[in-house]
Symmetry: C2
Amino acid sequence: MGTRFPSIPIVMKVTIRDVAKAAGVSPSTVSRALNGKGRMRPETRERILRIARELGFRPNPLAKGLATKMNYCIGVGIDARHLPIKRSFYGAVLEAIEEVLDREGYHLVFSVIRNAEAPRCVIEGRVDGVILMGTDVRGELVEKLREKLPLVLVDYHLPGAAAVVTDNFGGAKAAVEHLIGHGHRKIAFVVETLSDPNFKERFEGYRAALEAHGILFDEKLVFEGGRRAESSRFAMEKFFETREMPTAIFGANDHMAIGAIRALKEAGIRVPEDVAVAGFDDGDLAPHVTPPLTSVHVPRGEMGRRAAVLLLDLLRGKLCTVKTDILSITLTIRSSCGCGST
Amino acid sequence: MGTRFPSIPIVMKVTIRDVAKAAGVSPSTVSRALNGKGRMRPETRERILRIARELGFRPNPLAKGLATKMNYCIGVGIDARHLPIKRSFYGAVLEAIEEVLDREGYHLVFSVIRNAEAPRCVIEGRVDGVILMGTDVRGELVEKLREKLPLVLVDYHLPGAAAVVTDNFGGAKAAVEHLIGHGHRKIAFVVETLSDPNFKERFEGYRAALEAHGILFDEKLVFEGGRRAESSRFAMEKFFETREMPTAIFGANDHMAIGAIRALKEAGIRVPEDVAVAGFDDGDLAPHVTPPLTSVHVPRGEMGRRAAVLLLDLLRGKLCTVKTDILSITLTIRSSCGCGST
DNA sequence: CTGTTAGCGCATTCAA
DNA sequence: TTGAATGCGCTAACAG
């Protein structure tokens, strides 16, 4: 019945002073030994290290942080609007970030950005740097954070901020050219919204592919479904109103492409025989839909790793200029485009 | 060219002393005003609060933590073996945990558990409590952590530890009974491994359903694929060697069920006409495979929320007894079981 | 090479 | 009701 007080320390924490006492030296000597600072007799150092180990000494990170102004924590913020739909995408990036940070002794503070507010871990000053994921992060927010601490953007870029992005343009162009290679010339572009910079770039890649093959761009073949859960349905409803149906669809992301496949099948249209489809992201669903989706592969793990490395470089002052990593992509060919099944 | 030192403070941080000076009181009074401790003249308090706000004062969490032994950080550990496959599962749980913690002023430190070692954030003593996800967390690890700090298990239970789990038994039983309702009496159970406690419970549910309907359990209808990426293929190879093919398959998780569907289709067997299939998890893939998978729905967000609340209760001493939350499940019926398509 | 001193920024006794 | 003193555990100047 009695209320318990938080964190009852079972064993008294051993501090640097305990180690000092046991080793017969001063706390500062222990500190130096532990951190490898300054010169000192090797035997003294080793003895201290041994005793620290024997005593099970763990430096208190809060005390250390308070004294050094380094907390060894990195914030990772994900815009709430990406949550349900791109979960597996950012999940993969998150894991990769964590792996790099962990190896370097850093910790990852995960937070969801709601209402375009800065993550609380940043506001409170708990983190040494921050990685922001997704295109929905507002420019003003980025600007505000950038002057407070080192920052890296993932899957988004903004002038003046370090970023890791994919080659949206090149990826889209390759995908569309693949469809063109299958003989298609009437290719629709299905997208949530062109106001999203990534999608806009993919759109440009789509246009470039058409142009490169002497196909006239037709704005009637661009279908926007809007930023909502049912986006693909809205877009496809418009699609079906088209007089001459395109023979292929390029979805600006897997979500739209898969929605397109579903809508086509429901309408009794065969994929890829009647209409071929390709997507962008190559996410978890792509191999599992019927037919398996041909899609531009986005190297999510690599993005995460690069972002983490970039941020660490920033923190360590190894990076003078703000740089943007543009990762090249590859097209994962399955059968929705008309290729023989994988 | 010149190396930069980490974290150049653009603006000098305002401390509690600055506020004290500006308010003409002592630091301790400011501290009390800010934390609402002790009695004090309301007007004094409000004045201090106002000044603190005007000065943009942010309490330094490290200093606070050092003094109070509370860091307002919660560790969330996920076993590495769950990573690729259950990514969207734990992603959903993670988000829900973050939401609750954020609302309560806590931070989430995400870490992957590799080699069954305790998360570094726990070892270093950076977190006030920890949530462990997945059945692959070793018992010894849990035991070790439990005596160090408050702990909650998700999707796994172990005597003596607080946990949030789903009704594996009931869910499996419901799914199998649904298949029985479709007239099936020869129902296979396809699973990665029965040595996993969750799968074992689902197995028991499967048996119970059979028994409840007077169907003799046949161990030849249990197919284990092992714990590997190609698990479902291994299991299904054994499946096809069966003399009399079952008319239905219950997969211990979506992964196995979807693998089964794929294998059946590749073998020219129609789903659900020739063989019906049901799974467990109702993950992101379930609605997208062909035919859409009937699956036991696991309320991932709810699991995360409960786990977070449980841990906070533990931290605040609101909880005397170690409790296990068993969430009830529901069967999401699609068409792989033979029901008219949703 | 090592010990002493003085903080880091806050909370919390104890007096007043 | 408020202030002064002390300490949380560690690092970093400065002496020695």
